[in-house]
Symmetry: C2
Subunit: 199 residues, 2 copies
């Protein structure tokens, strides 16, 4: 028992991440998380003190991980279009595993307008983001992409990538798409998005 149970903490976090960010079950209770992790409910309190602290922790970690991955992907390339391609790959992969990360954050922001939690208040324009905007500006001056507010360019990129994943359950119902069909459509999007941004 002891050997396996030594990573109880990790099991709980994994279960919570899956419920929240992957399945979008924002109302999941500590009991549901514990069940999904296959552990006793009070262990959530033992390891994380409270439900909200657990949420904050996995949110924090997810953000840090994502930031690092994008940082790596972007800095590896010198060509702007290649950078964007890399960005799309990483972001899309992330979106498949954690489709609800962003809107979870949004609902948390809205949840409680006054008593804002630390992690969300800490959201700041990162160095990476600033660099990215600067890159876009450079490309416009070079003429690689058409004249556009860099913020709008970024907004377009994120929208085209993120929204289809968020809206997936609705869309599947509307169009009677299977999981497989949906995934294929998403994969086909990469080329489409590139065309829209650069053509």
């Amino acid at each position: 028992m002891a050997v396996k149970d030594s990573h109880t903490e990790q099991q709980i976090k994994d279960a919570a991440r899956k419920l929240f960010f992957t399945e979008g079950r924002f109302k999941a209770t500590t009991q549901e998380i514990a069940d999904a992790a296959g552990v006793n409910r009070t262990l959530v309190n033992y390891y994380f003190r409270s439900r909200d602290l657990l949420f904050d922790q996995i949110l924090q970690e997810a953000r840090t991980t994502m930031d690092l991955r994008l940082e790596m992907a972007m800095s590896a390339e010198t060509d702007f279009k290649k950078k964007i391609e890399h960005f799309i790959d990483i972001f899309m992969e992330q979106s498949f595993t954690y489709p609800y990360l962003d809107i979870y954050m949004v609902t948390r922001i809205n949840e409680d307008v006054e008593r804002q939690n630390q992690i969300i208040t800490d959201l700041k324009k990162t160095e990476r983001l600033k660099n990215f905007l600067r890159d876009i500006d450079t490309e416009i001056k070079k003429g690689t992409i058409e004249k556009i507010d860099p913020v709008q360019f970024l907004m377009n990129l994120m929208s085209l990538l993120s929204h289809p994943v968020v809206i997936q359950p609705l869309f599947k119902k509307l169009f009677n798409y299977s999981d497989k069909q949906y995934r294929q459509m998403m994969i086909a999007r990469k080329e489409i998005i590139l065309k829209m941004l650069f053509k």
Copy 2:
């Protein structure tokens, strides 16, 4: 008293709509709704029997209204690009008043995978939607827009419109945008979206 209170039911629905679809407070309790409506909490049960029935009702109504508005806007025009322009106008207007309508539906779908509620199960490809897809196809054949899967075209349109509104709270924190700045950016998007779709 009596005259004013005769539309208690309406007041409750208005308050719920605002909390859910406008402010994205998905966890709002009956007490909060009642407070926002300025009425006694038990009146929610009196008029709607249960919390969930109230939610279902306003969701149903919102969908019907939106459908009708789009129907009108789209059928009024013969020119495809004009149709899209109209669509953008209506959809954007809707998004300003009910930015969280879509993701509320998504979270409701995810909430409870087995016991699916009626309204959400009822989601079907509407006549309007089918016509729209057919229109897109026609335009491709005419050469007005580049060759693309009509579903992908629709997905692009919806993404470019919807996502910025959904992500608004996150975005405002990241870029330190005021409400006014954000709105201006959104308004500027109309032209940008048209360019991306048709150029």
